[in-house]
C-alpha cells in the first residue's frame, strides 16, 4: 500500500506544475478585456501598448523589454501597476518565482486584476513550498475574485486552495475546495480543466484511502480525457488508470493502460516532432515566400525597366516627330523664301532686260549719229569745206560726251546694284566740288549760252562719299543743261535745314515737267521710264542713280517743277559735325 501511495503521490506531484502551467497557457477572457480597454485608454503610451500586445501574444521577453521601458518613462501609477503585473506574469511563466513575487508585490492595492495577482503570488509560494503564505494569497484571491465576479477564474483559485490543503494535510478542506473546483469547472471550464480537477480530487481520495471514489474520479477523468487533444493529459490519465488497475490487481488492464499511456507519451513526443517539422516547414515556406518576393522584386524591376524603356522611346519618338515637323516647317518656309526671291529675281531680270534694250537702243542711235557725222566730216574734208568742220567736231564731241556719261551711269548703276561700289563717307568741300563739276560742262554751257552760278558758301563741308556726290551733281547738271533753253540760267545754292542737314538746290530755268512726270520719276520702283521727249537721249537711269546715291549718303531727294518755268532739284545731305 505504501508503494501505491508513493506512486500516486509521485503522480500527484507531477500533476500540479502541469496544471498550473496550463492555467496560464490560455489568457483569461476577463483579463484580456481589461487589458484591451487599458490599451485604448493609454493609446499615446507606445511602450505600454506594445507591452500589452506582446503580453497577449505570450511573447514574454518582448513584454519584459517594453514594460521596463514604460516603467522608466511613465509616472502613472496605474500604468506602472500594469507593467509590474506584466513583469510578474512573465517571470512566473519563465519560472523565476522569486522575481515574480518581487514584481507582483510592487503592485498597489487598487489594481483591477488583484485577484489574478494574488493567485499568481499564491502559486509562486506554493511552488516554493511556503504553504501558509500560499494559502493566505489564495484566500485573498478567492475573496477578490468573488467581488469582481470572475467565477471562471475562481475555479483556478479553488484548485490552488485544494492543492495547498492537500500539502497541509487538511484533507476535508482540500476535498471541499476541490469539489467546488469541479462544480465550477463543469460549469465554466473546458474538458481538460475538468479532467484535471477530477484527477486532483481522485488523488485526494487516494490519499484518504477512499479508493472507490478515487477510482470513480480517475475513471471520470480518463473518460473526459479521451475527448481531449492534449496527449500529455491522455498520457497522465491513462497512466493513473494503469496504476489504479495495477492496485486492483487487474494486471492485464493495467498493462493495457500503461501501453496506452506510453502510446500517448510517444504521441506527445511525436507531436513535439511534428511541431518541429511544422516549424521547419514554416521556415521553408518563409524561405519560399522570400524567394517569391525576390522573384517578384526582380519582375518589378524588369517591369520598371521595361516601362522606362517605353517612356524613353516615346520621348525619342516625340522628339523625332517634333524635329520632323520643325524641319518640314523650315522647308516650307525656305520654299516660300525661295519663291519670293525667285519672283524678285524675275522682276530684276526683267528690269535688266528692259534697261539693256533701252541702253542698247540709245547707244545704237548715238553711235549711228556719230557715224553719220563722221561721214559728213570726211565729206567736208574732201570738199574742203573747212567752215563746217568745226561745227561737226563740236557735234561729235558732244555726242561722245553724252554716250560717255550714259555708259558711266550704266557702270555706276550696275555697281550699285551688285553692291560693288566703294563707298566711303568723308569731309567734302561742297563749293570746290560744284566748281569741279562745272569745269567739265564749261563748253556745253557756253554753247547754249547758259549762265551758271555757284552760290554755295565756301565754308560748307558735307559728310558724304565724294564720288557718289560727283555722280549726283554730274547727272543733275547734265539734265539741267539738257532741259534748258538757250540763254537759260542754272544756279547751285544751299539752304540751312538744321545743325545736321543741309539743302542743296539745283535750279534751272528750263522746260520743266508735269506733276505726273515728277511722281513717276520719284516712284520707288526701279523700273525705268522711257521719256516722252524722244529727241533727247535718256533712260531715266541718271535720275534713278541720283535717288539711290542720295539715299545711300543718308539724304533725301525731291523735285519741284513748273512747266516752261524751270525745275528745282532739292537734295538734303548730312553736314560734317
Amino acid at each position: 500500500m505504501n508503494l501505491k501511495i508513493n506512486k500516486i503521490l509521485f503522480c500527484f506531484l507531477f500533476i500540479l506544475p502541469f496544471f498550473l502551467y496550463s492555467q496560464s497557457k490560455e489568457i483569461n477572457l476577463f483579463e484580456k478585456k481589461i487589458l484591451q480597454e487599458k490599451a485604448v485608454q493609454f493609446n499615446g503610451e507606445n511602450n505600454f501598448v506594445k507591452a500589452q500586445s506582446f503580453y497577449l501574444k505570450k511573447d514574454w521577453d518582448s513584454t519584459l523589454v517594453y514594460s521596463m521601458k514604460q516603467l522608466s518613462v511613465s509616472e502613472n501609477k496605474n500604468l506602472s501597476d500594469y507593467c509590474h503585473y506584466f513583469r510578474g506574469q512573465c517571470f512566473f511563466n519563465k519560472k523565476f518565482y522569486k522575481e515574480a513575487q518581487n514584481e507582483l508585490s510592487l503592485i498597489s492595492e487598487k489594481f483591477e486584476l488583484s485577484h489574478m495577482k494574488n493567485f499568481v503570488l499564491g502559486v509562486t509560494h506554493l511552488e516554493t513550498k511556503k504553504l501558509n503564505k500560499a494559502l493566505e494569497y489564495f484566500q485573498l484571491a478567492e475573496k477578490q475574485s468573488i467581488t469582481v465576479k470572475d467565477l471562471k477564474y475562481l475555479s483556478n483559485i479553488y484548485s490552488g486552495l485544494g492543492t495547498t490543503y492537500i500539502f497541509l494535510k487538511q484533507y476535508s478542506l482540500a476535498e471541499k475546495y476541490l469539489l467546488k473546483n469541479i462544480s465550477l469547472c463543469e460549469k465554466y471550464q473546458n474538458n481538460d480543466k475538468t479532467s484535471n480537477a477530477y484527477t486532483n480530487l481522485a488523488a485526494l481520495y487516494y490519499e484518504l484511502y477512499k479508493d472507490d471514489l478515487a477510482i470513480f474520479y480517475y475513471t471520470k477523468s480518463y473518460n473526459l480525457s479521451q475527448k481531449s487533444k492534449d496527449f500529455k493529459l491522455k498520457n497522465l490519465t491513462s497512466f493513473n488508470m494503469s496504476i489504479v488497475e495495477e492496485n486492483r490487481g487487474n494486471l492485464k488492464k493495467a498493462l493495457e493502460y500503461r501501453k496506452e499511456a506510453d502510446q500517448w507519451k510517444d504521441s506527445a513526443n511525436n507531436q513535439n516532432k511534428i511541431w518541429a517539422i511544422a516549424e521547419l516547414e514554416k521556415k521553408f515556406a518563409v524561405a519560399q515566400k522570400q524567394k517569391q518576393i525576390k522573384v517578384l522584386k526582380v519582375e518589378n524591376q524588369l517591369k520598371n525597366n521595361q516601362r522606362n524603356g517605353l517612356f524613353v522611346s516615346a520621348i525619342v519618338l516625340l522628339l523625332l516627330l517634333t524635329s520632323g515637323v520643325y524641319f518640314y516647317a523650315q522647308k516650307v518656309k525656305n520654299a516660300k523664301t525661295i519663291l519670293i526671291q525667285r519672283n524678285k529675281l524675275d522682276q530684276l531680270n526683267n528690269h535688266k532686260d528692259q534697261l539693256f534694250s533701252i541702253v542698247s537702243h540709245d547707244l545704237r542711235s548715238s553711235v549711228n549719229a556719230l557715224k553719220t557725222s563722221n561721214s559728213k566730216l570726211s565729206d567736208s574734208l574732201q570738199t574742203k569745206n573747212y567752215e563746217q568742220l568745226n561745227q561737226l567736231i563740236t557735234q561729235n564731241s558732244s555726242i561722245a560726251n553724252d554716250t560717255y556719261s550714259l555708259l558711266d551711269n550704266l557702270l555706276h548703276w550696275a555697281m550699285l546694284q551688285t553692291k560693288q561700289l566703294y563707298f566711303h563717307k568723308e569731309s567734302v568741300h561742297l563749293y570746290s566740288i560744284v566748281q569741279q563739276i562745272e569745269y567739265n560742262y564749261k563748253s556745253l554751257l557756253q554753247e547754249k549760252e547758259i549762265r551758271f552760278e555757284n552760290l554755295v558758301p565756301k565754308n560748307i563741308f558735307l559728310f558724304v562719299d565724294l564720288d557718289s556726290l560727283k555722280i549726283i551733281f554730274r547727272n543733275l547738271l547734265d539734265n539741267a543743261i539738257k532741259f534748258s533753253k538757250q540763254n537759260g540760267e542754272i544756279r547751285f545754292y544751299t539752304a540751312e535745314v538744321n545743325s545736321e542737314f543741309l539743302q542743296i538746290i539745283i535750279e534751272d530755268s528750263g522746260i520743266g515737267m508735269s506733276e505726273n512726270t515728277i511722281s513717276e520719276l520719284l516712284q520707288d520702283s526701279e523700273t525705268l521710264v522711257k521719256k516722252n521727249n524722244s529727241e533727247i537721249i535718256g533712260t531715266g537711269l541718271g535720275l534713278q542713280l541720283c535717288k539711290q546715291m542720295t539715299a545711300k549718303n543718308g539724304g533725301t531727294f525731291s523735285i519741284e517743277s513748273e512747266i516752261n518755268k524751270g525745275t528745282k532739284i532739292i537734295l538734303t545731305l548730312p553736314k560734317i559735325k
Partner: protein, 248 residues
C-alpha cells in the same frame, strides 16, 4: 616760298603728260615720273618729294598700291598719296584704304579735281582737315614745312628758314631771311602745331625761331635775330630763358 615737289607714278605717257601740264600750270614742281614700281622706289629715294601721285594699276598690276604699302612700312618715310584709278573696284579700294592717309582721284579727271585731290592728301596726311578750303585758315603745319595755299596752288616754307612769326589780326606774318609773307592762321593754332622747344613765344604777338637768335639784351627787352631783326621781348614771356642752355 618754294614749290611743292610732286612725284608721278604713271605708266601711260599721255596721262602723265596731262598731269605734268596741269601741275606746271599751277606752279607745282614735278620731281620725276616713274613708269614702274622699281623706278618709282628709286626716284622716291633720290628726289625730295612732298606729294606722290600714284596710278593704282601699273601695267595691269596693282603695283601702285604695293608701292604705297612698301613706303608706309618705313617709319617717317611716308608722304601724302593721291591714287589715280579708273576702276571703282571695291577690293582695290579696300586694299588702298589700308595705306591711309590717302586721297582718290577717279579717271577721267579735270584740273580742279587734281588740285583738290592734292590738297586733300596733304590735309589728311598731316591730320589737319578742312584747312585749305575753309576761309579761316590756309596753312597746314608739318614737322619740316608750312604748306600754304596761295590762290589755286600749294606752296611750302621750310620751318628752318623762318626767323620769326608775327601776328596781325587773323593773319600771321612769316619772316624768313629772304622774304616776308602773310598766311591765314591764328597764332594760338600755329604755336600749338609748331615744335615748342624750337619756336618760342616771346611776346603776345611774336614767336621766334630759337635757332636764329643771335643776341638777347635783357636790359632793353630786346632780342636780335639773324639778319639784324630786332624783336621786343614781352615781360611775361621771359621765362623761356631759364629753359635755354646758357654759356656764361
Amino acid at each position: 616760298m618754294d614749290n611743292i615737289n610732286v612725284l608721278i607714278i604713271e605708266d601711260t605717257p599721255a596721262q602723265s603728260d596731262a598731269l605734268i601740264k596741269v601741275l606746271l600750270e599751277n606752279n607745282y614742281t614735278v620731281a620725276g615720273v616713274a613708269r614702274d614700281f622699281t623706278s618709282a622706289l628709286k626716284l622716291f629715294y633720290e628726289c625730295s618729294v612732298d606729294v606722290i601721285i600714284i596710278d593704282v594699276f601699273l601695267d595691269g598690276k596693282p603695283d601702285g598700291i604695293t608701292f604705297a604699302e612698301s613706303i608706309n612700312i618705313i617709319p617717317n618715310a611716308s608722304k601724302p598719296f593721291v591714287f589715280l584709278t579708273s576702276s571703282q573696284d571695291r577690293q582695290i579700294f579696300e586694299r588702298a584704304k589700308l595705306t591711309k592717309p590717302f586721297s582718290f582721284l577717279m579717271k577721267p579727271f579735270n584740273e580742279l579735281e587734281i588740285l583738290y585731290a592734292i590738297e586733300m592728301a596733304v590735309e589728311k596726311f598731316y591730320e589737319q582737315t578742312n584747312v585749305f578750303l575753309s576761309e579761316e585758315q590756309n596753312t597746314v603745319v608739318s614737322n619740316d614745312f608750312l604748306f600754304i595755299k596761295k590762290k589755286n596752288a600749294l606752296k611750302k616754307v621750310a620751318l628752318n628758314d623762318i626767323l620769326y612769326i608775327e601776328v596781325e589780326e587773323r593773319y600771321c606774318n612769316i619772316v624768313t631771311e629772304k622774304e616776308k609773307f602773310v598766311i591765314l592762321i591764328s597764332l594760338t593754332k600755329i604755336s600749338e602745331l609748331l615744335d615748342k622747344a624750337k619756336f618760342l613765344r616771346i611776346h603776345r604777338n611774336t614767336i621766334v625761331n630759337s635757332d636764329k637768335i643771335e643776341e638777347i639784351i635783357l636790359a632793353d627787352n630786346l632780342i636780335i635775330l639773324k639778319g639784324n631783326h630786332k624783336i621786343n621781348l614781352g615781360d611775361t614771356y621771359k621765362d623761356f630763358i631759364k629753359k635755354m642752355n646758357i654759356l656764361s
